[in-house]
């Protein structure tokens, strides 16, 4: 799925929700698609990752685990059918991110887009993406390393990520390895 397809699918989902007896849905999108949709990187992904639902409680935005209502699921499936793609094109496999902890202020920094009156999508910012990608790179490597390299990160950005991952309890050795792999060897030596 590329940028154009993702935009088409989200617009379709917004239209489908308008015709369903569905509540307004507000989702936090993480993963590579959040960057693709912001034009930070250009590649294809299998799906769009919904990390959390967002609601307003006492005037404040609150993140919650994404448990889609039947109407929302139906709308996702309708869009999948029309575009002949897997019905889990909008997946919620990243919901564990919420358990692991998301960076403070992630919602304030997110880019908000509305697709009709019943769908709001928040794309995590570059700042938060680097933090989460560094965490993922420690665990998985591979595509997350490639994404971090493609993002042309600055020393300031990865330094913040390094500190945040350490706070989250990730091993220093592994983080240094990630820094080296993404072209920040100098920084890795400094932090070693």
């Amino acid at each position: 799925m590329d940028l154009s397809m993702a935009e088409t699918l989200l617009r379709g989902l917004g239209s489908a929700l308008e015709t369903e007896e569905a509540e307004h849905v507000d989702i936090l999108i993480c993963g590579s698609m959040a960057m693709i949709l912001q034009g930070v990187i250009s590649r294809r992904t299998r799906d769009i990752d919904g990390a959390a639902f967002i609601s307003t409680v006492n005037g404040e935005l609150v993140l919650s685990k994404p448990y889609p209502s039947p109407a929302f699921r139906r709308a996702i499936e309708r869009v999948g059918s029309v575009h002949n793609i897997q019905k889990h094109w909008l997946s919620f496999q990243s919901k564990t991110l919420l358990d692991d902890g998301l960076p403070d202020g992630i919602l304030e920094r997110a880019i908000t887009r509305d697709y009709g009156s019943k769908l709001t999508v928040r794309l995590i910012s570059r700042y938060d993406m680097i933090l989460l990608k560094m965490k993922a790179a420690v665990a998985r490597g591979g595509i997350d390393i490639e994404d971090l390299s493609a993002m042309n990160t600055t020393q300031e950005e990865v330094s913040v990520g390094f500190d945040w991952c350490l706070e989250q309890g990730y091993p220093k050795e592994s983080l240094l390895e990630v820094l080296e792999k993404i072209g920040h060897g100098e920084l890795a030596k400094r932090f070693a």
Partner: protein, 346 residues
């Protein structure tokens, strides 16, 4: 509104005009010659599409006033049920008007069945182009008003003729004159023009009930005019076409059989969907979704409506995405119309 509904409607109406001309309506267009005209399907379809064309509608009523004995009421009823409540109500009104003009109790059963939909509808203009024109009851036709349809006085000039039975397209009408109004005429029309089939297959395509068709086939088998190859449960019936055509004094070149009721219904489904769901068709996703769902209904209808149509490449929803559902379906519908109008009408 988008242009594609009128891009499809115009050629559909051209075919209908040609078929009405073949049946004897007083028109200057070239009569259809190459495919069998089905009078009941044509009249029902005119009640559906005629809402876009007052002249077509009134010429059909004019023809029916002169030729009502040629029409099989229960077949009208059966075909109209497919088109749905809206068309059934218009049909009821048109038949009511013709019955009144003829001073006879014509088509009572069809009109009675149509009345059941009256309670569900608001009063509205019959013709889409006259929307809002008849806000008062003044000047509107009282018979159509009973059906909650507003229109001025119909232009019935009693100038329609009768079908020219020398025209191959009127084979169904000709054989009804020969065999009488029973089932045999239409069954023979099918066997001569579409080839053979089982009693069920023939009944489905002719919009008859299977039992009646089976009995007619067996009678004709016993008389030696129809042959039967008996499979275990489902006999296959056919005729020696050339011999039978000669016996009946028909031309060597026989017209092609199409299930016109299904063909007209397929176009009615698509065009009326656009008229009824203007907002949805302005949204890329909702329009694509409607087109995908319509493809599932429409393609089998057209594909099974006649041998020539089964040869045309058709849209495949499993290989299409998004807006392609719309583009491919419209392209297919245009190709079908092109085939029907340019190859099998004149």
């Amino acid at each position: 509104m988008e242009n594609w509904p009128s891009d499809l409607l115009e050629p559909v109406k051209e075919i209908m005009w040609s078929q009405w001309a073949a049946l004897g309506a007083n028109l200057t267009v070239e009569p259809a010659r190459k495919s069998v005209v089905d009078p009941e399907a044509l009249f029902v379809a005119t009640c559906g599409f005629g809402r876009n064309d007052a002249r077509l509608f009134d010429e059909a009523m004019d023809w029916l006033l002169e030729n009502n004995e040629r029409i099989k009421p229960w077949r009208l009823k059966r075909i109209a049920r497919t088109f749905g409540a809206d068309t059934q109500r218009v049909l009821g009104a048109a038949l009511d008007y013709v019955a009144d003009a003829a001073g006879k109790n014509l088509f009572p059963g069809v009109r009675e069945e149509a009345k059941q939909y009256l309670g569900e509808v608001q009063r509205e203009d019959l013709f889409y182009s006259e929307k809002g024109r008849h806000s008062e009851e003044k000047g509107v036709d009282p018979i159509f008003l009973k059906w909650n349809l507003l229109r001025g006085a119909p232009r019935i000039r009693e100038h329609s003729g009768t079908p020219n039975t020398g025209n191959p397209a009127n084979l169904m009408v000709k054989l009804r004159e020969f065999y009488g109004t029973g089932t045999r005429a239409d069954v023979m029309t099918y066997l001569l023009t579409a080839g053979g089939g089982s009693s069920n297959e023939i009944a489905v395509r002719l919009k008859y009930n299977q039992k009646g068709v089976y009995e007619a086939l067996e009678e004709m088998c016993a008389a030696g005019t129809v042959h039967k190859y008996s499979k275990a449960r489902n006999g296959y019936y056919w005729v020696e076409r050339d011999d039978m055509a000669k016996t009946l004094g028909l031309p060597v070149e026989l017209p092609v059989f199409f299930v016109w009721g299904d063909i007209y219904f397929a176009y009615y489904l698509l065009i009326s969907d656009c008229i009824m769901n203007v907002e949805s068709h302005q949204d890329d996703f909702l329009s694509a979704e409607r087109m995908r769902n319509l493809t599932v209904k429409i393609v089998p209808l057209l594909r099974n409506s006649g041998e020539p149509l089964s040869q045309l490449a058709m849209p495949d929803i499993k290989r299409q995405s998004g807006i392609e559902h719309k583009d491919k379906l419209l392209d297919y519908m245009k190709r079908v119309l092109h085939e029907l109008r340019d190859t099998y009408t004149l």
